[in-house]
Assembly symmetry: C2
Homo-oligomer: 281 residues x 2
């Protein structure tokens, strides 16, 4: 019975297998390389302790990694966060790969976000967006600048036209409303026996679209600065703060404790909260 493995006593770290290589991990690595190639002069070295850079569950069923690089002083980069979580469950494994590149209040340009959640070998949830930092209904010029002029909606369409794609609705209405109208929010479900098809899509269409979206973000957002008065900056900071704390609440504080021992997950969450500026470093 696989569940007996789950209840096995903690094993020394050396006995835990490393996270398996998965197609989405290669995609995320390529994206991170693409971002770093452009942003390197504006990124500080990694800032997480070794036991957060890679962490495991005592029971040996889960392994994760987190890397956070803060933006260099004077840059408009706040931080770049990469994480992967892999957890064996009785019927398979859950695997979550994320890349977030958040900007600071030197600009109001959107953040970059990619999250890939694989709950079965044949299906994957894709969240990919330039996260808006202003109310789009109040600021049509912002919508036009970052979303219409960049023609980023064509990238969303390339994913949604896949016959295997159907809309993914986050159970959190807050998460749904934080995304832009051009966000990719889909489940790609290749059905029974579709492992090969899924791998092909992840390496093919998904990798290409994510690369394109990141390139748009690098070209139009990553290096921008925005002149703001105090009221505008206060509103931006307040909105950023709410989105950050709500998304941590919904996302990581929900999934990490289900996958890892409490001491491990709270340690990792604390590092993420630091990156998000929600906790003193």
């Amino acid at each position: 019975k696989p569940s007996s493995t789950l209840r096995a006593p903690a094993m020394p770290d050396a006995a835990v297998a490393p996270a398996p290589e998965m197609p989405q991990r290669e995609v995320a690595r390529a994206l991170a390389d693409q971002a770093v190639a452009r942003l390197a002069p504006r990124l500080l070295p990694s800032a997480v302790p070794d036991d957060v850079a890679e962490f495991r569950n005592g029971a040996g069923n889960a392994v994760g990694s987190l890397d956070v690089r803060r933006g260099a002083p004077g840059s408009s980069i706040d931080f770049m966060l990469q994480s992967s979580l892999h957890c064996k469950v009785p019927n398979g494994a859950i695997d979550i790969t994320s890349i977030l590149i958040f900007l600071n209040a030197a600009t109001d340009a959107p953040h970059f976000l990619l999250e890939l959640i694989q709950g079965s070998p044949t299906s994957i949830v894709v969240l990919l967006d330039l996260l808006p930092r202003k109310d789009l209904s109040l600021h049509p010029d912002y919508l036009q600048k970052y979303y219409e002029n960049t023609q980023i909606d064509e990238q969303r369409a390339k994913i949604e036209e896949l016959p295997q794609a159907r809309p993914y609705r986050s159970p959190s209405l807050f998460v749904r409303s934080a995304f832009s109208p051009t966000a990719v929010m889909v489940t790609i479900d290749c059905g029974q026996g579709g492992e090969g098809t899924l791998e092909e899509i992840v390496h093919g269409r998904l990798a290409a679209v994510a690369k394109e979206v990141l390139q748009i973000w690098l070209d139009c957002c990553a290096e921008s600065t925005t002149a703001m008065d105090d009221i505008e900056r206060d509103c931006l900071l307040k909105r950023d703060q709410i989105v950050r704390s709500k998304s941590i609440e919904v996302d990581l504080t929900a999934s990490l404790p289900r996958m890892f021992d409490p001491d491990v997950s709270s340690h990792v969450i604390s590092e993420i909260r630091k990156a998000f500026g929600l906790q003193e470093p």
Copy 2:
């Protein structure tokens, strides 16, 4: 050739057939009755001239109706607008049915919107929402009050779970971003020979869901008032104004001139602009 009819010289109004009875028209009528039954004391009599209450195209291929009732002084209703547009085209007909009930600045509660766009006998686009009037990412309490506590997302799910439903993406990013995360934005496509199925869905599931959404709006929004300071009210008014003028630009000023003669469509658009508060009455 049907297109020759389109180019026929203008006929006297009497020769133009009345708009055909369609299932969505009955649904809209029932909703309007449901709204009026509750709001009647707060609605003034219809305020549109006869030639806007019903209007036709000189070529005899299009017929429309518009009714606007303003809210009574002291109420939080701004206006209730019902419209229907029906236009024969070479391969069939386009039919657009709308009900909008907009609130004024006595409250920040969402507006009610239903729009049904039928481009073929077997498919219909459904837009149904409580249109938010605040930035949901900046105001999670607003999201909770009107969208989470009302469990309105269950209504969206009832439509989206129909096997004939697929997401409808407005070509306008502004329209997409103006809607709430619980909005119904779907195309219900019943495929060749699916006229009967579509009629069943419109009279059945769609009518029931629209009725439920309107009931939530009547119970939670229609009669509410909100205490606001001047800054909050200014922001609300500015946002309302932008959403109203952008949606007219995208929606009616785009479709009316394609269906009706220029003098008819500009006359009707002018009445709609008055209702929207974008033009002096």
